[in-house]
Symmetry: D2
Subunit: 341 residues, 4 copies
């Protein structure tokens, strides 16, 4: 007997993240896409908007309608802009739906930080209290039971996975320097002149140093995990590649450490985490592009307490849609890698 498939909906299905969710869920053996929404005014076949999906998906993309979502879906992915998710979440929760929110709206516990970094008063305190941070590598037990999962930001995913084990082991100083380089796809599908092919191709620049909205997320989650505060000097960059984030993390250890010890720490935390790979050397971006893996590699400086840890992910997969599917798998109690390898 064939198992019945779980019905899932995707709100914001026409952004880069929404499109990637569709791609992953279309091929997922245990779910069925039963609802797609965007800012469209009339229902329109999704594969007319994205001809790539002709012959692959035959579902319409509709104006967002909470009642229809409640009727048709058991699980709802929110690939909506920040500050919009919290408009929709309360009624979906009321309707008993399980939610995976890919916006930033439920990631920060602190409403002050949310308001400071996202510019809007957070009105859904109840949702915030329910929300579980959706990083399976550290919060799997909570995610299993969660009704509302806050899918991590793209930069935080790779950076937290690189730092958390070291912090939990208590071996590093609190001051950490991080330089991350991201594809422009992380900035969303927007008709800006700045994102024109000619402006991105062969270009690179730093932006929002020390003030990027992902800094409080990283610091809060690391503190929750380890009860220690880190001091993150974070400088993100955009570079002309199609996909991925490469993070280079400068660590000061409390005492000299050997490469083997460092490897042991990582293996301790990730031996059962299918999607974190400890590399022998430094990782290469293209080895994770198109996958849900986070690759970690590191290098210990000779005669020093310094090391560098490099982490890379596909920003639309492990940094967004893939990680969301991983969360869904855990929530459904099925194998974590289903539909992802």
């Amino acid at each position: 007997m064939r198992e019945e498939k779980v019905k899932v909906g995707i709100l914001g299905a026409t952004g880069f993240t929404g499109e990637k969710l569709v791609e992953l869920l279309v091929n997922h053996p245990r779910v069925e896409i039963s609802y797609l929404s965007s800012t469209t005014k009339e229902p329109v076949p999704y594969n007319e908007l994205f001809p790539r999906f002709e012959r692959v998906l035959d579902v319409k993309c509709e104006p967002l309608d909470v009642e229809k979502i409640k009727e048709r879906c058991a699980i709802v992915f929110l690939a909506l802009p920040h500050t919009i998710s919290m408009e929709v979440v309360p009624s979906l929760l009321e309707g008993g739906k399980r939610i995976i929110d890919l916006s930033a709206d439920y990631r920060l516990k602190s409403r002050e930080l949310y308001e400071k970094f996202y510019g809007k008063f957070h009105k859904d305190e109840k949702g915030l209290n329910l929300a579980v941070y959706g990083l399976c590598e550290f919060f799997k037990e909570k995610i299993k039971e969660a009704q509302l999962v806050a899918n991590p930001g793209c930069y935080p995913t790779g950076i937290i996975l690189a730092i958390a084990p070291l912090l939990l082991e208590g071996v590093i100083e609190r001051e950490i320097f991080v330089s991350s380089v991201s594809s422009i796809s992380g900035a969303g599908r927007k008709p800006y002149l700045e994102y024109h092919y000619i402006n991105i191709s062969n270009n690179m620049w730093a932006y929002k140093p020390f003030v990027h909205q992902h800094i409080p997320e990283i610091e809060e989650v690391l503190e929750e995990l380890s009860q220690q505060r880190v001091e993150l000097s974070f400088v993100p960059h955009i570079v002309g590649v199609e996909r991925g984030i490469y993070s280079t993390i400068y660590i000061n250890f409390k005492e000299r450490i050997e490469r083997a010890q460092l490897e042991e720490i990582y293996r301790k935390y990730y031996s059962s985490s299918l999607f974190v790979r400890i590399r022998k050397g430094l990782p290469k971006l293209k080895e994770v592009v198109g996958t849900n893996f986070c690759d970690l590699g590191f290098w210990v400086a000779e005669n020093s307490r310094k090391a560098v840890v490099c982490s890379c992910i596909d920003n639309l997969i492990k940094g967004a849609a893939g990680n969301a599917v991983q969360n869904m798998n855990v929530m459904l109690g099925i194998e974590e890698e289903t539909g992802l390898i």
Copy 2:
């Protein structure tokens, strides 16, 4: 009356740097390319090797022959691999030629460091004593008279220009973290599978962290300039762009500093340096690609002694051939920007 043109030769004219030297010197109003060499066995028209130069340059590329160089050139550019330059320099010096060496052979004062990082005993002590470090922004007076100029490495150029003023002013701590991202063109024109289009495009990786051969160069030059030692944690990366280096430099100031003070320091050192631009915001790589500029931008963290300085250059121009031409202009006593803007 038309001025007579200075005759210049380029050894190693078929590498990326040699080719860029040809391109710049062909258009230079005060010099004439009178000699080109490569590993070719027979003389061959340069524009057969590089059809781009048909109608533009009509000179042959020949096997390296020191006697011919002595006859035909007043100034010689060495775009040879490291450890090869020092084989040629002594006899060219003897022949009274002025030399701009783009290899690493005469950059380090310390022969121990040279041997450690380049793997070969340095046999030309005389040349080493004569050599002037070819960064016009700080050593112009010496370059004017120099017989042998050691053109800086590509990473050091952008990094030294970013750090030196701060160090000279005595305002920063000695510990500095640098993350640099470079085009693969910096690695030379080699038929390696690793440099295949498919392996580079959309890829990125870190390499040689803490151990790159440019670290001693940066540290030595900064110490010579400021009498202070810095401690550089340097991690270079390769990314799939055609040209340029973007360096992100984390600085700890001894005391809190305002943006305006920082800007004042840079303006103090670079007000008369045509090719260093202090940007209002953070620089973008593509604004220097194809030019001899080094763009600097910075950002001071709020309520902290930290700042980030970003620097970018075209690795083949300001990071190699363009800077070499700038040196030549200074050596010839002509306007520094001739042929470069």
Copy 3:
């Protein structure tokens, strides 16, 4: 009860095509990769050669050994260079294996043409007689029973799919102009300076006009299908993209034709072909990259008997590995799209 998986081997597993076969077959629900070979001298874990496959595949890549293949595989994919496949095929056929050959060795019926275009006498006449041309859209019945399938060339796949219906309907003149633009990945993973990132990125050129080895393949297959000779003026190009082939085909119709008639012809031939999509407008390359689809679009000139048909495929999937898996599915009697959507 779980079905037993069919054991498959891939010879030449480290080329672009071999690697793509591994990627597709790893995720295929009905087969198991039981053998991989390359020019390696010692067995080595495939995921050491391609770290992308760590955690995904745990099979060694071995020196080619026909006896081991016979022991371990039911179906063998040959992703070997042209003229090498025919060295291996005879003994595999003798061993009763079913073979999908991705080289050109069994595509041409004419041994004269083979020798002319591939420069070697074809010694396996028996294999040639057995071989079935592996284009499921036209030869599915033969492929079902085939012991040896010759997987089509990358250019021929997209071009034959575009032309064959028109020829079968007898509506076009024999003279056809085709301009195709391909990714460099079609040229194989080779350490050539010509394939260096800097030489490919942002570059484009035509090569082998009128003389490319895929011309006789296209002409022979079209003649076999339609009993008509076409006269193909074919000019292939390389362009700096990572994947795909875009073919632009100029057709002269015998009589004026309407867009609707043309569409009807295509629908007649491809209504049951899952992997050929008839587009409303002209196709875009990126909509097929990463898929096994061949997208076709066309445009009829006003007041004229001319039309253009554009066809695009991912050269490594529908143009090589994906099509080979499609053939395997048909040979195994399972759903044609298994593992491909």
Copy 4:
């Protein structure tokens, strides 16, 4: 004594073409940029809009004001959108200015064709009568004296240069198939989602087959030159490269022709044309990018009357701004290559 520089203005200075004009004219030894306009509402330093020009150009970009242009410029470049140029040209002509118009407004002699392809009634008949088609390789004498030069379209430049000699010699059939592939920079700097980096990178598509607005331009100019009508089947494409157009042209000769004869024809017409290079093999796009060259290469099919001619240009230089500067040089009676090599 230093010669006085000619004062030039650029209208539409912020598009891709306008920006390239600025870049070329800044370095031109005989002119001075004295006026720049765009759709800006207030005058703003050009190097604030394009920080690339800091230290290089110190001119403001202003709202378009015909009186100011008349005061400040001797020659005016119009890099305005089609249908806008003809609003400005009449009063500039009245003011005695010499004009190089880079829009399509004065390229077509036929006002019917203009209206059909550009969708607007052409109201400046006087200007149309004055206008000279700005292709120096064929109309140099007229350009010398012209008051109004219509700079050719990007596709026409490369295609006319490839076809005209063959047509003038009377050796080819009238039916010609052309497939051209262009960088997206040809479509202008517009904030369209379609031009987003992710939509262009690694993508390719055909558009406007048989109906592109450059078809009547090519046909009209070729007819004017040769008194013969050609029948052009033209299919343009966009591909994910930064710069350039590659045109592949299928020619049917009236009689069999040898490669040497073909070469002789081209040499006859271009021996004194500095910017047209006859290549030994087929040309490569990257050899013309960044230059004002048009490279031509060809291949004659064996035992047939067919040949292919390939032509490539940098669409922003020989296809727009560079060719406009070449026209200006001819108009000024100075060396044609000034500022262009």
